[in-house]
Subunit: 166 residues, 2 copies
Amino acid sequence: MIETAILGLLTEGDAHGYGLHRRLIDMGFWRVSFGSVYPALRRLKAAGAVEVSETKDEKGRKQYRLTETGRAMLISQLGDMDTVDNTSGFRVRMTFLDLLSGQDRVAVLAKRAEILKDRINAARVSVAETTRSVYARSEIEHRAASMQRDVEWVESLIMQETKGTS
Amino acid sequence: MIETAILGLLTEGDAHGYGLHRRLIDMGFWRVSFGSVYPALRRLKAAGAVEVSETKDEKGRKQYRLTETGRAMLISQLGDMDTVDNTSGFRVRMTFLDLLSGQDRVAVLAKRAEILKDRINAARVSVAETTRSVYARSEIEHRAASMQRDVEWVESLIMQETKGTS
DNA sequence: AGCTACTATATCGAATCGATATGATTGAAA
DNA sequence: TTTCAATCATATCGATTCGATATAGTAGCT
């Protein structure tokens, strides 16, 4: 998932490790550490998804550039249905959703809505069983309500996407 | 954080590893694996927070029991202000918030509200800078709105807690 | 009897975290 | 003008966690 995020950011231009880390933090996806960023860049390089510029920039920093292989990997990861659960991962996906075709976008969004609905149902069962405390119950109820709004948001995006199409 | 969750569940009665894993999954805190649960139980045992019953249960399973040390550790972890960020961690905290005193509860909730407000501001900056796509913008706006409702929820809990107290 | 599903404990390699080391640059106060 | 803290930048360390898998017993069905 960190790979997806890095590849996504590199579609906006070349960057170096520290800068990518800062952007990942700023975007608030999740708390990423350098211990994830640098090994991830090494893996991406080994996989041919990114290249390091021979000529370093004016400050002597390594610049990473997205390759065509890397772009193809990104598109494939953004459309992968097996990883649509995972909250942070979905945020990354949404950020770079414009790189997918309209069809794939709708498929991803629909899958997300489905997963959220399952979780809402699980929460409903959970709240019925919970006798722990008002806090425990309140937390589950609040979370269920929050996920319900997520579903509505995702479905509104699907509507926007499909209106105008046969 | 997995330690906190396990200790919390053990306040409700003795349990074995597999059962704890199942309950953690059911509660929907986050996706926990056996590779976290069993090592965590070993650490808790080494720290004296849990005991393994000498006499296994009717099915021959290891039963873990919370010790007084463990209960004290749990209370301390639930009240620790340095770990109030982290979404999953906060859910665990809310579930077992009844174990804290009224004062500590309010302190934890207030800290959470503060952290969420900071994140909302960061999201506002982020959405102003984002030109990526409608999806990227929509995601940030939706997240900010979601966190705003989280703040309102947390503040309503603080109100309930403080009303009636001088 | 055979089979599928579930219960239960546990470990493996890879990924990730949080902290830290190192050094260079920058900017502002002493 | 030096010095001192903060930030930039790359990188690694040990510990933790993940996802997958191994192993084996039990349940219930057909």
